[in-house]
């Protein structure tokens, strides 16, 4: 009989195990999400993260050993971002027609996203580091962490807030838009991408390809606008 401990020591040291666990956990989460009719609460990112975190705690695995395997999936975020150009090009006629609503909604959404978070944090008496992490929360992680660094915030805390924003937004967006009786899928997708960056975009692609396209545009535009607005608005908001 093979000694289980030896086998475990061997497998847990190679990237294969955690790469496989991530993929299988996601497939299970995606099957549950599909089984629930893509119900927003059955969010595949949230479910996979919960499954994997339980496995990591039970097996006493440290994050760096997990990431040694999961990095191959994480790496694909780059090419996936480049790939967003394809649906953007495919829906170019709609994008051109909606140019004015898009730009106005971008400015309104970006300002409200930054100011509401910082002012609420100030009102509840949160630390300055928390406020600095909340300000760029709707930008994609790479941009938000860069912005946080620029304003003397904590990039690690910012990354946590950014991912929390992404998952919460992906869950809230569908019921909220239905409650508002908004049937404009370009508008719905654009809001999802603006507020919840890539995770909101992933949710929008699940619902509708047009929504996904506008979410991808919003993700790019709001990333840039947040990097410009946060350093401008912060002195005034923290005053």
């Amino acid at each position: 009989m093979i000694d289980f401990v030896d086998l475990w020591v061997y497998l847990s040291g190679s990237p294969l195990l955690w790469l496989t666990v991530t993929l299988v956990a996601y497939l299970a989460a995606d099957a549950i999400s599909t089984g629930c009719g893509r119900h927003p609460l059955a969010n595949p990112v949230l479910l996979s993260v919960v499954f994997i975190s339980i496995v990591l705690v039970l097996s006493k695995t440290a994050f760096p050993s997990y990431f040694a395997g999961a990095q191959f999936i994480h790496f694909l975020l780059g090419p996936a971002t480049v790939a967003l150009a394809v649906p953007l090009y495919r829906h170019l006629p709609e994008v051109k027609r909606m140019f004015v609503p898009m730009i106005v909604a971008l400015v309104v959404g970006s300002i409200i996203s930054i100011t509401s978070a910082v002012l609420l944090a100030k009102w509840l008496g949160l630390s300055k580091l928390a406020m600095l992490a909340l300000a760029p929360k709707s930008a994609t992680a790479a941009i938000a962490m860069g912005v946080a660094e620029k304003v003397q915030g904590d990039p690690a805390l910012t990354a946590v807030v950014v991912i929390m924003t992404g998952i919460s937004g992906a869950i809230v967006v569908t019921p909220l838009m239905n409650a508002l009786r908004l049937r404009n899928y370009a508008a719905r997708g654009f809001a999802a991408g603006l507020v919840s960056h890539g995770i909101g975009t992933a949710r929008a692609f699940q619902v509708n390809p047009l929504a996904g396209t506008f979410a991808g545009i919003a993700l790019g535009l709001n990333g840039v606008l947040t990097a410009i607005l946060v350093p401008l608005l912060l002195p005034w908001l923290l005053d």
């Binding site: 991530t22 993929l23 995606d30 969010n43 996979s48 994050f63 997990y66 999961a70 780059g78 090419p79 996936a80 971002t81 480049v82 967003l84 150009a85 394809v86 649906p87 495919r90 829906h91 170019l92 027609r97 909606m98 609503p101 106005v104 909604a105 971008l106 309104v108 959404g109 409200i112 996203s113 509840l124 928390a130 909340l134 994609t140 790479a142 805390l157 946590v160 929390m164 919460s168 937004g169 809230v172 967006v173 909220l176 838009m177 908004l182 049937r183 404009n184 899928y185 370009a186 508008a187 654009f190 809001a191 995770i199 992933a202 692609f205 509708n208 047009l210 790019g220 840039v224 990097a227």
Partner: protein, 124 residues
Amino acid sequence: MLHAFAILLCLQLAGEAAVRALGSPVPGPVIGLALLFLWLVARIPIPHTTHETADGILKHLSLLFVPAGVGVVQQLPLLGAEGWKLLGIILVSITLSLAATAVTFAAIAKLMKIDGGAPEGERR
């Protein structure tokens, strides 16, 4: 499929190089996105599998955020006593900004009499 993947990687690499050279705050992959978009708009021939490969990756975009999400769970103690307040603020702030963005977008589109892109009218 391999050709398409090579194109995505080359454009990302070009984007990363541009970011380093210009010191721009925009991440390399976003520059890569812009480059691929310009390529398509210019109608320069591109392997036909590029479209399928892009759709294939984007169909499972959620998967790609899982490792970062697991990392966040590990970092949760970082939030300390402020954790619940932070979550509350995030929920209120995203509700306000989601509603404001979508309502503004839809209202201006209606004002300009632009059709809303309902699911029936979608193109694939």
